[in-house]
Amino acid sequence: MSEREVLELLRENARYSTADIARMTDLEESEVEATIEELEAAGVLRGYQAVVDWDALEDERVRAEVELNVTLDRETSYGDIAERLARFPQVTSLRLVSGDYDFDMEVEGDSIREVSQFISEKVAPVPEITQTVTHYVMTSYKENGIELGDGDDDDRLSVSP
């Protein structure tokens, strides 16, 4: 299962070189390259993105988690609504979820004003959307499996038996 192995390694660090991936597995570098190309072509690998701790930067990025409730009719499916919302560049992720609300949407913008305007002018007016609840992100502690704290210092002795 070279695909799984390559995916796991890229999920750990998408900047591993194909040579390093080859060294860590039983694969040749050319096989790693071919596997990655196949996974991209098949739409399994959809992108490679940095995990950013915005709090560590001066210029603030505003993010919000938005709960959306919708009503469906014969002509409109969840997929139709999702497609419409997903087109907005402000929407960074969109998922249909179980529970009290239907969609779990993440949005990003340069200011609270911008994000609020987007919700009130672009999202809320969509006819099928019956309710929105917006939660602004105050601090993020973990993103994509990566803890954003200072981390555990390596306090091991430098040479030990």
């Binding site: 390093d20 555990d152 091991r156 430098s158 040479v159 038996p161």
Partner: protein, 385 residues
């Protein structure tokens, strides 16, 4: 009488590791591949259980042999994983690290003048432990040509047939060698034939990357002559919590417990709670760590091959054991590498004479540092060799 150390203490020199530690500590740009413990933190569930036990005020001594619940969990674990069937009431003792278990066994079973054969290169505590117990260590060198596995030939050449006991440790610190069942079988035959007590340190058992770990105690007629050591330090990244255990027939555990009850009373209670949780719920954490070590192992082996340092294919623990280039001693190479490039490794002869000409390189270090360290070693070879 003054505070003059006893002769058997004077007979043991300070550890050769110490000197490298001191040099490495002087500099702050050092990448250390000299570390003999995991770089991962203890799985959170185990730490959380330890904290919870403290909150509940569970800070008294436990039974000498350890909490019953923990011994039951250990019994369940070793039988599932390694086919080692031991009774939690009579055949298991929980100790302050595998270190204490090893020490207890030497003190419980070695009489003054007994010869204890030790497969080498080996972890540095066995020889001193035997000497402190009044016994005489007999090094049994293993060879790179045998992938540092112990062979009957090596035992015979060293004169181990006349020994009273044999210490072995696979997966091995410092070589990373493992002993598959087929290679262990003749060693078991030899031990039976020559009536040797066997001390088997299996603390790296979980860190076996190819094939399955087999314990020598599982061979016909071996259980009654073997003490198996294991612990939580390596597999569960719990070194500082100090928790290990020994498995042996009831009478043997009774003897070890005699020493333990006077010398230690009981293993650290907080650590016992952490260990219980580790066995209960941390299989996934172990699997994740083992997966990471294995990738690093393959990475490091590939890099040594690329830069032209011969290195046999270590299949266990978290060490590889490359050869130093001709014209260098391991000591010189390690020292110059540290001064020149700020990479710390441990010269192989620290682990016994048969480690001469080799370096112990630990990959209990993140991949970024490993990559950088190997590049520095490559630069060192280009500049200096």
């Amino acid at each position: 009488m003054t505070l003059e150390p006893a002769q058997r203490v004077q007979a043991v020199p300070p550890s050769g590791i110490r000197r490298f530690f001191e040099i490495a500590e002087e500099r702050d740009d050092v990448i250390s591949l000299g570390v003999g413990e995991p770089d991962f933190s203890t799985p959170w569930a185990a730490r959380d259980a330890a904290i919870h036990s403290l909150e509940q005020g569970r800070t008294s001594y436990t039974a000498n042999r350890g909490m019953r619940e923990l011994r039951e969990a250990i019994a369940g674990y070793v039988v599932d994983r390694f086919d080692l069937a031991y009774d939690p009431d009579e055949e298991i003792i929980v100790t302050a690290g595998a270190s204490e278990a090893v020490d207890l066994a030497f003190r419980a079973f070695v009489d003054p003048g007994d010869t204890v054969a030790i497969a080498q290169p080996s972890y540095i505590s066995y020889e001193p432990g035997v000497i402190f117990a009044g016994g005489e260590p007999l090094p049994v060198p293993t060879r790179e040509a045998d992938d540092f596995r112990l062979t009957v030939g090596a035992l015979e050449r060293a004169g181990a047939a006349d020994a009273d006991a044999l210490v072995l440790c696979y997966p091995n610190n410092p070589t990373g060698a493992v002993m598959p069942a087929a290679d262990l079988a003749p060693i078991a035959d030899f031990a039976r034939e020559h009536d040797l007590t066997v001390f088997s340190d299996e603390i790296y058992a979980e860190l076996t990357y190819e094939g399955e770990h087999t314990s020598i105690a599982t061979f016909e007629g071996m259980r009654e002559r073997t003490v198996v050591f294991n612990g939580f330090s390596k597999a569960y990244a719990m070194t500082g919590l100090r928790l290990g255990y020994a498995l042996a027939p009831a009478d043997a555990i009774t003897a070890m417990n005699r020493v333990h009850q006077y010398g230690m009373l009981s293993a650290p209670t907080t650590a016992q709670y952490a260990a219980l949780e580790a066995l209960d719920s941390c299989d996934d954490d172990v699997e994740e760590m083992v997966g990471q070590y294995d990738r690093r192992r393959q990475f490091v082996l590939s890099r040594f091959e690329e830069i032209g340092m011969p290195c046999f294919e270590a299949k266990g623990a978290f060490y590889v054991f490359p050869e130093v280039p001709a014209g260098w001693t391991a000591e010189e190479f390690a020292e110059e590498l540290l001064y020149d490039q700020g990479v710390a490794v441990v010269p192989g002869d620290v682990f016994g004479e048969s480690g001469t000409g080799h370096l112990r390189v630990s990959y209990a270090t993140g991949l970024g540092d490993l990559r950088e360290a190997l590049s520095r070693i490559e630069a060192f070879l280009e500049d200096r060799v």
